[in-house]
Amino acid sequence: MNNGNSPQTTTQSSNLVDVLETVLDKGVVIAGDIRVGIADVELLSIKIRLIVASVDKAKEIGMDWWETDPYLNSKAAEQEQKQLKEENKKLLERLEKLEGKMADNSSRLP
């Protein structure tokens, strides 16, 4: 049955349109008990394509900054805070050492 032209389930835009226009709009209608109409296939298709396209495109050009951007990713935010805390701790230690040395020096002054 498969001959290389089968409908694919990839995110390619053309196949996306094929699947959406068929699945959302066609198929046998025998009234179910839960009624739901897809409001606007065209509008939703555009939205879906934009979501797919933006993710694909971004990955394609190596733009995955949102995965590590603290404003967009809480995990990354946590990591960043941890790093900052450690940096702070190290700086404080250095400062204390320096202050200690200075105190030593001043006490040795005549």
């Binding site: 694919q8 349109v17 839960i34």
Partner: protein
């Protein structure tokens, strides 16, 4: 509260006995897909939580593009999987019943028609053709080979410079009009040839570029119901036309075989 029943499609029981149902997860990603035997027909279904998938909740969900994307593809993939093994009457996305009894009543009501339809589609395949064009190339072609335009050009050449300017602008408009006509005429000719091979065919909506996401313009969209015996011929015609016309900016996109989404009709 009783679970809701999501219906994917109807298959013949005798076919299901030959091939056990593939193992699939349901629409919610948790429940299992199974089949309910109704005499000679089997309904392929999954169960859904009545609160989460009630009418109001479902309407909210279907307006969420992300959810819709994922679930529409789930429906499609489940049907493709089933279609590998059985002739199937594919249901529209989100056909849901409040319980087994309600589904049983509906199937009983349509049973005769469904049996006939399954017989009818068993030896047929559905294929979708989309024709795209590079609008510039088609326009160029029209500008250099169209008779009406050639005649107009000759007429303009013999005019005074002032008139020529005005007439050239009119000529541009004429070229645009003829290009539009050509898009339609070209596609209709191809469609006619393919429709002649088909048991049934339907011309579908042409989508704009913001839907297709392509740089080429969609100029034709149609679907064909084919006897399996002619599918090879059908494919080779499309391939031949593609080879012949791609230089002139025409691109054919054929997908299939699809479950009979377009031609299986119950009522």
């Amino acid at each position: 509260m009783e679970k809701l029943v999501y219906l994917y499609g109807i298959i013949p029981t005798k076919e299901k006995e030959k091939h056990p149902l593939p193992s699939l997860k349901g629409l919610d990603g948790e429940s299992d897909v199974y089949s309910l035997p109704f005499d000679e027909l089997d309904a392929v279904v999954c169960e859904l939580d009545p609160v989460e998938y009630g009418e109001k909740e479902l309407e909210k969900k279907t307006n969420d593009a992300k959810w819709l994307h994922e679930k529409a593809f789930h429906h499609h993939e489940a049907l493709m999987k089933l279609y590998e093994n059985y002739p199937i009457i594919p249901m529209k996305f989100c056909t849901i019943y409040s319980n087994h009894d309600s589904l049983l009543q509906t199937i009983n009501h349509h049973k005769q028609r469904m049996m006939e339809m399954l017989d009818d589609i068993a030896d047929k395949e559905e294929w979708i053709l989309k024709i795209y064009c590079e609008a510039d190339k088609v326009k160029q072609g029209v500008a250099s080979y169209n008779e009406a335009i050639e005649a107009k050009k000759e007429e303009i050449a013999s005019m005074s410079p002032g008139r020529q300017y005005l007439e050239k602008r009119k000529l541009d408009q004429l070229i645009d009009q003829e290009t539009e006509k050509e898009k339609r005429a070209f596609s209709e000719k191809i469609h006619k040839e393919l429709a002649a091979l088909s048991v049934d065919s339907e011309v579908k909506k042409i989508w704009k570029k913001d839907v297709t996401g392509r740089t080429e313009e969609m100029c034709w969209n149609s679907v064909y119901m084919l006897n399996k015996s002619v599918v090879d011929d059908f494919l080779s015609i499309v391939k031949h036309q593609q080879e012949k016309w791609s230089v002139s900016g025409w691109h054919f996109e054929l997908t299939g075989p699809w479950p009979s989404y377009h031609f299986a009709k119950v009522s």
